[in-house]
Amino acid sequence: MNPFFKYFSGIFTALGSLIGGLRVTWRELWRKKVTMQYPENRDTLQISDRWRSELYMPHDENNEHACTACGICMINCPNGTITVTSNMVENEEGRKKRVLDKHIWDYGMCTFCNICVITCPSDAIFFNNDFEGAMFDRSKLVHTLNKPGSKLREKKKNLPPTPLKGEKGATISPPKKQETQQGIDDKKVS
């Protein structure tokens, strides 16, 4: 190509591409802002269900939980965040049984690896997504998960262990399955 022509065509192609770039940023200027204004938008805030924040133990309306105090979560915890204390109680049949005394979880030491939830054989503990856990005192980070006066839920037949409704952060969803199964059954009946 003629160098003289190349010089001027270079100027105009450069100008064209610069204007293209300006047009892109102009569009960007009017785009919806992505900033979330946290304390104000607390009501509409959407936290992902997969977010792990606080360990909790679901209790049902009879103040019963599913923890058998087996201690597997405590053994599996990589940094000793969980302490499970238990009492040996003799039941009516005269057999000694392990009963949960305190399930203590230290928020400040937890790495949220989820191993305790995965390994729990009776699905007694889950992570919720209440992320506002900051405290002024470290001792307040140590949570006792079982409520005072709570006791082990008696085993019922044909009911898969489920996290209770109304609680946030259910990591498994058997209730949904059950509902759909029921729906199908209802249809069959009708």
Binding site: L18, L22, V24, T25, R31, V34, T35, Q37
Partner: protein, 370 residues
């Protein structure tokens, strides 16, 4: 034309008040002091406003909200930043060249303030008005680069040195283009006095009056102005990836604040000079013969016109800054020496031809003549 909100009346009242009550010597001294205070106050306030505006617009370009916690829409944020930078410790560095190191920020800021003085902010709102105003602008704004070079040299730091050298090469190169672009306008309006340049643009702004060569000069002035202020795609003297912060790496506290302030004000000054020289300065939009329209335009005070026009150019500068990637040093000098300067030299000859042959809008159409 009625101009209810102008400050000319106030200024002439003050002047007669001082003249009638004091000896001429003391009247001059007091008026000088008042002008100095006004210029410095305007300097500080405009810098604060610019920092806030820049942060907001930058945020909008990046789909963020920007400062929005301190005051309504965060407007006190830059005041808080000012207080912070005032009470910060100035860290003394052992192996610097003490005199030059502490003198350097003053060169930069004095050059910026001196250039600031000649800007006509409105009718009668101009601190200095020489008959060689354009030459004064070019001369005084070039002092800043001495401060930058001194800062890089005296910091005893190789990154500062490289940054300062880049800045020097860039500034001296682009000063040529800026100077020639302003000279094109001097050819067009036939005067170097800033107030007369503004006055001559009453019905046709220079950028329209000189049509093609004036528009080319305007674009070239904006490009070289951005390059001179070390902003936008030309900010490689402080390329943080390679040079941490360039020439002001070793500075802290208020000394850094001076560089920072001067950088922001230089952006404003470039936009203000471009407004004055190309876009009619503080002149309202007027059409000859449309007296009602002109009256409405004159109701808007001249300083509002000035700041509106300057604001558009500042917005453009920010828009460019957040659109284009940073140039490499050889490409930067390539742009200046192989493109802008030759185009500029041809352009000034074209302008001379246009003026001599009477092809400007004022010559062709009598409606644009003042």
């Amino acid at each position: 034309m009625k101009q209810p909100l102008e400050l000319t009346g106030l200024i002439s009242n003050l002047h007669t008040f001082f003249r009638s009550n004091l000896t001429p010597f003391w009247a001059t001294v007091i008026e000088g002091a008042l002008v100095l205070i006004a210029v410095l106050a305007a300097y500080a306030i405009i810098a604060l406003a610019l920092i806030y505006i820049e942060r907001k617009i930058t945020a909008f370009f990046q789909s963020r909200l920007g400062p929005n916690r301190l005051g309504k829409y965060g407007w006190i944020q830059s005041v808080a930043d000012l207080i912070k930078i005032l009470i910060k410790e100035i860290i003394h560095i052992n192996k610097v060249d003490k005199v030059l190191f502490y003198a350097a920020p003053f060169f930069v800021i004095v050059s910026s303030v001196l250039t600031f003085g000649i800007i006509p902010f409105g009718q009668g709102l101009q601190a200095v008005d020489f008959n060689i105003g354009i030459v004064y602008i070019l001369a005084v704004s070039s002092i800043g680069i001495i401060g930058v070079l001194l800062a890089g040299w005296s910091s005893n730091n190789k990154y500062s040195m490289i940054g300062a050298m880049r800045s020097g090469a860039q500034f001296i190169s682009y000063e040529l283009s800026a100077g020639f672009a302003l000279m094109t306008v001097v050819v067009l309006s036939g005067t170097m006095q800033v107030s007369e340049i503004v006055e001559s643009q009453r019905y046709a702004w220079n950028v329209f009056n000189g049509h093609i060569p004036a528009m080319i000069a305007f674009v070239i002035y904006l490009i070289s102005g951005h390059a001179e202020t070390n902003r936008g795609p030309f900010d490689l003297p402080e390329a943080e990836g390679e040079l941490t912060a360039g020439y002001h790496t070793e500075y802290s506290g208020l000394q850094f604040g001076f560089f920072y302030l001067a950088e922001y004000l230089n952006m404003f000054i470039i936009a203000a000079i471009a407004t004055t020289v190309f876009l009619g300065g503080w002149m309202p939009i007027q059409v000859q013969g449309w007296d009602g329209f002109n009256q409405v335009m004159w109701y808007i005070p001249s300083y509002v016109w000035f700041f509106a026009k300057t604001g558009v150019l500042i917005f453009f500068s920010l828009w460019v800054r957040w659109s284009f990637p940073r140039l490499r040093i050889d490409l930067l000098l390539n742009l200046e020496w192989k493109y802008l300067l030759p185009i500029n030299l041809v352009n000034i000859i074209v302008m001379v031809v246009v003026v001599l042959l009477g092809w400007t809008l004022e010559d062709l159409f009598p409606i644009f003549r003042p």
